[in-house]
């Protein structure tokens, strides 16, 4: 894509700026909640004395500062050293503590993989790996865009993987993973996070998928912020007499295969997996495997990021460019339906 193809202005002509490391998903026409992870962790810590927080120089940028201010003696600053961060989290967990260790998803997945795998997962230790800027939620370019974090972590035995949709789910999932014994990787939505699931009387259950709306023509199987996009797309497509269901899958591993097969097996619906992740090795491939293995063969389509290093830029621009915007999701579905 050449420079001249790139939109210089967003909706209403506002200048779009690179949303650098402070990735915010507000301006979706929804109310937002500030630092839902940080506040939820404080509530967990109030009832569980063994919960501690650790970070690698990203407390302020992973909402852990809320916890650090509330529980200063339970907060450990490990410096800009992610291998140490997860090794130390392992040591702390060996002494009986439940550790929430935060950094950016790129640094956890790419830089510290061996340390998480051998020091934490192999011994099934109680460390919660909280990864900021997951998938494409930063405009800062490949150094900060964790477009392949799910693919990397899905290969790790013992590790539970959670990709929350919104502020409601961030808070509920934080409590749920604290109560789950064992290692968890959770994608973090930080800063001002939209409230999407509030109207749905939603209750996060680790390992469970949940049908948020039903529809005859298309079944979205979505995770993370793409559930928000799928819900918006479904609302818009309803006006064009395209009836979409949305099955939200916040736990990537272990996958709720039973619910997915049940929903996908219902007659005639096209299955569209939507994820904020490269199309390689994430939810789409996990769902495809589950469908094929069980002999369920619906029309299958996949919305995800390309297998490429992505451009820097403003998030709305990038989401549109790479197919994650509501416009692009609606366009893809209509094209597939012919």
């Amino acid at each position: 894509m050449t420079g001249s193809d790139r939109p210089a202005a967003g909706p209403g002509g506002a200048k779009l700026r690179t949303s650098a490391m402070i990735a915010s998903l507000e301006a979706e026409g929804r109310p937002t909640v500030s630092a839902p992870f940080g506040h939820a962790l404080c509530r967990v810590a109030a009832r569980r004395q063994e919960v501690v927080g650790m970070t690698a120089d990203l407390g302020k940028y992973t909402d852990l500062h809320v916890f650090a201010e509330a529980f200063p003696d339970r907060f450990y600053q490990m410096g800009m050293a992610e291998q140490l961060l997860f090794s130390a989290a392992s040591g702390m967990a060996r002494e009986g503590f439940t550790v929430f260790a935060t950094t950016y998803a790129v640094f956890a997945s790419r830089r510290a993989y061996d340390f998480i795998c051998m020091a934490i997962a192999e011994d099934n230790l109680d460390v919660k790996i909280i990864g900021g800027l997951p998938g494409l939620t930063s405009g800062y370019g490949p150094s900060h865009q964790a477009t392949e974090d799910l693919a990397i972590f899905r290969g790790m035995p013992n590790l539970t993987i959670v990709d929350p949709c919104d502020a409601v789910e961030m808070a509920q999932a934080t409590a749920a993973i604290a109560d789950h014994k064992g290692p968890v990787y959770m994608r973090l939505l930080r800063g001002r996070v939209p409230d999407v699931l509030g109207p749905y009387d939603y209750k996060f259950e680790l390992g469970k998928a949940r049908l948020l709306r039903d529809g005859r023509d298309v079944l979205f199987v979505s995770t993370g912020i793409m559930t928000m996009r799928a819900l918006d797309a479904a609302a818009r497509l309803a006006g064009e007499r395209i009836d979409c269901a949305v099955l939200h899958v916040p736990t990537i591993k272990p996958l709720d295969i039973e619910t997915i097969l049940e929903a996908a097996g219902r007659s005639g619906r096209m299955v569209v997996v939507a994820e904020n992740h490269t199309v390689v090795g994430g939810l789409g491939e996990a769902v495809a495997r589950a469908l094929l293995s069980s002999g369920v063969a619906p029309t299958f389509r996949h919305i995800g990021l390309p297998d490429a290093f992505l451009d820097p830029g403003a998030l709305p621009t990038l989401h549109d460019r790479y197919g994650l915007s509501v416009d692009k999701v609606c366009g893809a579905v209509k094209a597939w339906l012919g």
Binding site: V52, G79, Q83, L84, S87, A88, G91, M92, F97
Partner: protein, 283 residues
Amino acid sequence: MTSANPSHRANVSLQERARRIRRYALRMGQVQGQGYVGQALGFADVLAVLYFHALAFDPRDPDWEGRDRLYLSIGHYAIALYAALIEAGVLPESELETYGADGSRLPMSGITSHTPGMEITGGSLGHGLGIAVGAALGLKRKASGSFIYNLLSDGELGEGSTWEAAMSGAHHGLDNLIAVVDFNNQQADGPSTNILCAEPLTEKWEAFGWYAQRVDGNDIDALTEAFNKARACDAARPRVIICDTLMGRGVPFLEAREKTHFIRIEPEEWELALAALDDGRPQ
């Protein structure tokens, strides 16, 4: 000085402990016909001083909360640690026959879930000291008086994560953390000092804020003194003991061998090696 030596064979000298550890390691190596026997022979004196002088532990209860933790970052030294655990009474001697066999509790590289007394899964080098930093912080949270010992090797010092951990241990003032470096100057591709030289090593650790000592790792008296000083040091600093050791120590024809990182010993040589150890038995 805390010492919870098992009561059996309580009057055995540390020199004899080290010889027995060497013997157990050789016998395990003999089972498989190969192994990191050179390291085990070289490091046996350090292990003898650790288990029978420095460490608080209960052989009947390897997970006793009050124990000192010993992390074997160098997972390929498992044969040496198993030998020490047998001598310490944590593992039965009869089990050495299973070394490296399918289903054995004594795999060829150390794995926590397989072996009593194996605190971490080492082997992927550069992990141990970071885990030790976290555990030392955890022990302090619990107001525990236990020490964390982390056994690492000179080759492992090439892993940058070790130095992240070294910096952190000093930053957090971890006076309950003792690193032990086996400096045998041998790694997979040759002498460590030719591959990625860590010298000047004592000065390096000191510059990182540690209380550092360097001793002859095959001199039992020097080792006991070094461990005493490491524990007794009253500075709020982590401690390191760099132990210069000789690969194959105690078996002259192995000491003389040029390539000792992963020794292949001919079938008839095992008995010769065991006999050489017995010849050198302390009086």
